[in-house]
Amino acid sequence: MPEAFETDGKATVRCTVNGREAKLTGFPMARLLDVLREELRLTGTKEGCGEGECGACSVFINGKLVNSCLVPLAQVEDASVVTIEGVANGEQLSSIQEAFIETGGAQCGICTPGMVMAAVNLLERVSAPDENDIRKGLAGNLCRCTGYIKIFEAVVRACEATGVKR
């Protein structure tokens, strides 16, 4: 093997994923997306573009919405990571997830995990979002099926379900 392929080897990073302690091993520049999917088999987080454009890989790091395709493993040391698998409480879906089912906010479902993460994040930041807040809050998550209309309805429905007055 030529010199260029030699490596300092993999790194081990400690963090929590969905509230559980995790020890993740991989190349320091490995995408968090791949580590979640391949090491932990948390395949709910999806890859749509690999360049931070589509939001299908959205997760929370320390409560902030990020694109996990743009986060190298080395930067999640000590962080708290939450993925779509951590949104429902066991079999009890979150109000946003319920609303996505009721309003038809999910069609093919591939953008849905990321979209749900963005919607949960939006409602954490803005308790009673208006239309503009919703459009802006979800603008980093591309959907090719719905035209977004039913997703907007899902966010509104989730607010109503949790008793938030708009």
């Binding site: 260029a4 520049m29 690999g50 994040n121 802006k136 603008a139």
Partner: protein
Amino acid sequence: MRAYLPAYELKRPATLEEALRLLSSEPGQWKPFAGGTDLMVLLEAGKLEHRKFFSIWHLAELSGIEETPEHVTLGALTTYTELQSNATLQREFPMLCEAASLTGAIAIQNRGTIGGNIANASPAADSPPALIVYGAELELISERGVRVVPYEGFHTGYKQMQMQADELISRVRIPRHAKQWKQYYRKVGTRKAQAISKICFAAAARLEGERIEEARICMGSVAPTVVNCTKTASILSGRGVDDDTIKAAQDELRKEIAPIDDLRSTADYRLQVSLNLLKDFLLSLEL
């Protein structure tokens, strides 16, 4: 993922001192890695040529927004999200807040940093035109010490900067004299969010009665670097806004920018819309 990952390094220095030591010990070998919103895209495409990086994302010394009566100082790691939500910036530097809100979307704004944006040196970046109009300065730190340079002129060519190999951008300092200025910012992308700008136009004017006392105009995506259109701006000094003023300014702007065709737009469009935006800015002054 098209990169050969084992070939890349990403260290995690515990402190700023350690990071600076790394920079000076092997000059040019190590590069800082902040929020990763640009570098990871290159990595994914197999186009990240540099191999050795160190993360600065966790370094508290490079974070935070501070205010003095004369300046607002942004830590290099200030994210777009933090820029938008700062009350002082909203009040005095709305163009910077708007630029931040138009860069990517929420997830990018949570990771993209002002320092990273400057170091990435893209002529299409959204914040630099606003920073130049505001007369921002950069604080560069190295083991040798700290120096402050005007941001204007920092970028010398496409992706080139006046910075030594052992230096790190630590802070962005903005003088607080923009309050009285009328400000105009317009990013032209193909869509309303998540767009890379085809043209970015930032301008401000201080007015005296019916006249422009002083103007500043800075543009992105119309040349290999962000362009401070000083000649166009100087033509406006002391003038009211009428057809002659508009025409004179447009004629000057033509000479100051050098847009090109690329896969996002055409030179023709960029030039025409630049001229239109200049006119729109002048009309917005309502003189």
